[in-house]
């Protein structure tokens, strides 16, 4: 049975890779199987994780028992979860003609809550920590840092400041302000260049993983 699974996996892997040549029936078959199975898989996962695991168990919690299986106490139900369930059911209102607009309520709830929750998180991580991390000494008599550290600190402070200038939308990028913004975009691009190389290497490891599967698990050429 395991051999059959390996053969199917190899067949579908090659089907997906065949897209490199051009769109073809083999790719279409692999794509359809991939999409269909994954959609079904996620339906099951989300059902058991959310509807059963979070909602049902949360509202109707099982009794607490000790290691010997003796009753200890009743579980504490979390009735607030019913609010989420009601909002979820309201999403289905769009299937009913005439009251489809009710489905906008849960959407508005999600979008509003998300904005509010993330506001402070982003504020904290993107502004507060960034500012705090950039307040560092550039140089100094009693500082005792090496030349490389001093250059590094200047790059951090200068790069952050110039980057902020680039993302300032209320002023045209002209004159000294424009020059600083240009420095900012250069810093950003150099960072992206380094990130590109780093990420490409991690993608190579994904490719190696698949080749390892084909030549190892499937063909047995790699021991």
């Amino acid at each position: 049975m395991e051999h059959v699974a390996v053969w199917i996996a190899a067949f579908l892997t090659l089907g997906i890779i065949s897209f490199l040549y051009k769109d073809n029936p083999w790719y279409k078959l692999s794509e359809a199987i991939f999409v269909g199975i994954s959609a079904g898989y996620w339906f099951v996962v989300l059902f058991w994780d959310n509807i059963y695991g979070k909602f049902w168990v949360g509202v109707f919690p099982p009794d607490v028992v000790d290691e010997a299986g003796n009753f200890v106490s009743h579980g504490v139900p979390d009735y607030a979860l019913i609010v989420g369930a009601v909002l979820g059911v309201l999403m289905l209102a769009r299937l009913l003609p005439g009251v489809g607009w009710i489905s906008r309520w849960p959407l508005a709830f999600i979008v509003g809550c998300t904005s509010g929750l993330y506001l402070m998180n982003y504020f904290s991580s993107n502004i507060m920590r960034q500012v705090q991390g950039t307040i560092i000494p550039l140089f100094g008599i009693g500082y005792g840092a090496s030349v490389y550290e001093i250059i590094g600190n200047i790059v951090i402070v200068g790069g952050t400041f110039a980057g902020l200038v680039y993302f300032f939308f209320s002023k045209e990028h002209r004159g000294a302000f424009g020059a600083t913004a240009k420095v900012g975009i250069w810093v950003i691009m150099i960072t992206f260049g380094a990130s590109f190389g780093y990420t490409v290497m991690s993608r190579m490891s994904l490719l190696i993983g698949r080749i390892d599967f084909l030549f190892g698990d499937w063909l047995g050429l790699i021991k």
Binding site: K22, D23, E31, F34, V35, S38, A39, Y41, W42, L46, D78, A80, V83, R94, W101, I102, S103, R104, W105, L107, I110, V111, T114, S115, L119, M120, Y122, F123, S124, I127, M128, R129, V131, Q132, T134, I135, P137, L138, F139, G140, I141, G142, Y143, V157, T160, F161, L164, F167, F168, F169, S170, K171, I188, F192, G193, S195, F196, T199, R203, L206
Partner: protein, 415 residues
């Protein structure tokens, strides 16, 4: 009728939330508990026990932490200390005790984390000699972690949010009064009209990919906001839009957005639910399907706006291979290089969020953008002042400068 249903729904949700709070009243806070040295339970006496063990609630958290403090063993305070380690034991509800931490000599406090606010906890701290003899303190009284609704440690964060929020409101009101708010040009957005026009001329569809995260991601929200403007123009030009998505909620939000755009453009009859289709939540399953759509339908324009991960380059390269104009944007730094390499225009980070304001020109969106610029201006000024203060303070030990640095560090602390 609709207003009545709205009001009833709103009141039901409100009353339900209120009642759930009433019915789940927390037990009253436990009094701090301490231990007595004289009653210490000892096993093989070799070192003195810790004294004055206190446990109290960690303030301003979600009811997940408790603070322990104690006076170290007298044998730990001598120069030739005999204590090799302190062991902290936790007793949850009425279960057996569990070792949760081993702390080095000299320790006099510990914060127990990841607790459940519905449980009660008791603690014992053991002083351990070099020969591994434990001397236990008495067990503390049971204490329950408490949840606080407001985190007063983040007072400065709140103040800064108020300043920026105030600036947003001020600019929104200014825009509503008719004041013209300037926003500099964003290259990627200048190309939106051109890209939609090109698709219209070629008679090919426009493909819109809103990333692979759900509606609880701010990048997806930005993508859906931009979609409103793009869809309006598509409706105007009577072009086709194709939008495969990987999340059901995004599908619903996108359909609503496009439908509204078509209604606003005066072409509600042209709208169809088929414009937006759910594919799968699976990342690479979604990518396989989108790649297939790209090569089969050959869209003239591809929008890749939202949160992307490993699929960014695969999608952008496929779009590039079919000769589509590609406008991409994400706030994920690791994916931006790929978009910059493979797409015609890229909205970098914040530009994605500024895009909706820039495109719509609505007072609310513009005011929000200008308010954020106030935040950036504050950050730039603080960085400048802070760096000067810390550099001079370090170099010449100037007290005033050190005070300025300390003040800024305190204000911008996130603890």
């Amino acid at each position: 009728m609709r207003l009545l249903i709205h009001t009833t729904l709103f009141l039901s949700v409100f009353i339900f939330i209120g009642s759930s709070r009433i019915f789940s009243v927390e037990p009253s806070p436990q009094v701090q508990a301490d231990t007595l040295v004289n009653t210490a339970d000892t096993v093989g006496v070799s070192v003195a026990p810790v004294t004055s063990l206190l446990v109290d609630d960690y303030k301003y958290d979600n009811g997940e932490q408790l603070n322990l403090s104690w006076v170290p063993s007298i044998d730990d305070q001598l120069i030739d200390g005999k204590v090799s380690v302190y062991r902290v034991y936790r007793i949850t509800n009425d279960s057996t005790r569990e070792l949760i931490a081993e702390l080095p000599p000299g320790s006099n406090s510990f914060t127990d984390k990841n607790l459940n606010r519905h449980d009660t906890y008791r603690y014992i701290v053991a002083a351990v000699s070099a020969s591994d003899d434990e001397v236990l303190s008495t067990t503390t009284e049971p204490v329950q972690p408490q949840r606080e609704w407001i985190n007063f440690r983040r007072g400065y964060l709140f103040l800064l949010a108020l300043i920026i929020g105030g600036a947003v409101i001020y600019y929104i009101q200014s825009a509503r009064r008719g004041k013209k708010l300037f926003v500099r040009k964003i290259a990627g957005l200048e190309a939106v009209d051109e890209a939609i026009g090109r698709a219209t001329e070629m008679g090919r569809p426009i493909l819109y990919i809103p990333g692979i995260l759900d509606m609880d991601d701010v990048q997806t929200l930005a993508a859906i906001t931009i979609l409103g403007r793009v869809a309006h123009q598509i409706a105007d030009y009577d072009t086709k839009i194709r939008m495969p998505v990987s999340r059901s909620l995004v599908m619903t939000a996108a359909r609503e957005t496009i439908k509204t755009a078509y209604q606003t453009a005066g072409r509600p009859d042209q709208y169809s639910d088929d414009m937006v289709s759910y594919v799968t939540d699976e990342q690479f399953g979604y990518v396989a399907a989108v790649d297939g759509i790209m090569v089969r339908e050959k869209p003239a324009t591809v929008f890749l706006l939202g949160a992307f991960f490993a699929e960014s380059l695969i999608l952008a390269e496929t779009g590039n291979s079919i000769g589509a104009i590609q406008i991409a944007g994400t706030a994920r730094p690791a994916q931006l290089p790929f978009f910059i390499a493979a797409c015609d225009f890229t909205l970098i980070g914040e530009e994605l969020f500024a895009a909706s304001a820039y495109l719509s020109g609505e007072p609310k969106a513009l005011g929000s953008l200008k308010g954020q610029d106030v935040g950036k201006a504050i950050a730039m000024i603080v960085i400048l002042v802070g760096v000067i203060a810390v550099t001079i303070g370090n170099a010449w030990d100037v007290k005033f400068m050190n005070d300025v640095k300390d003040m800024l560090t305190t204000i911008f602390s996130t603890q």
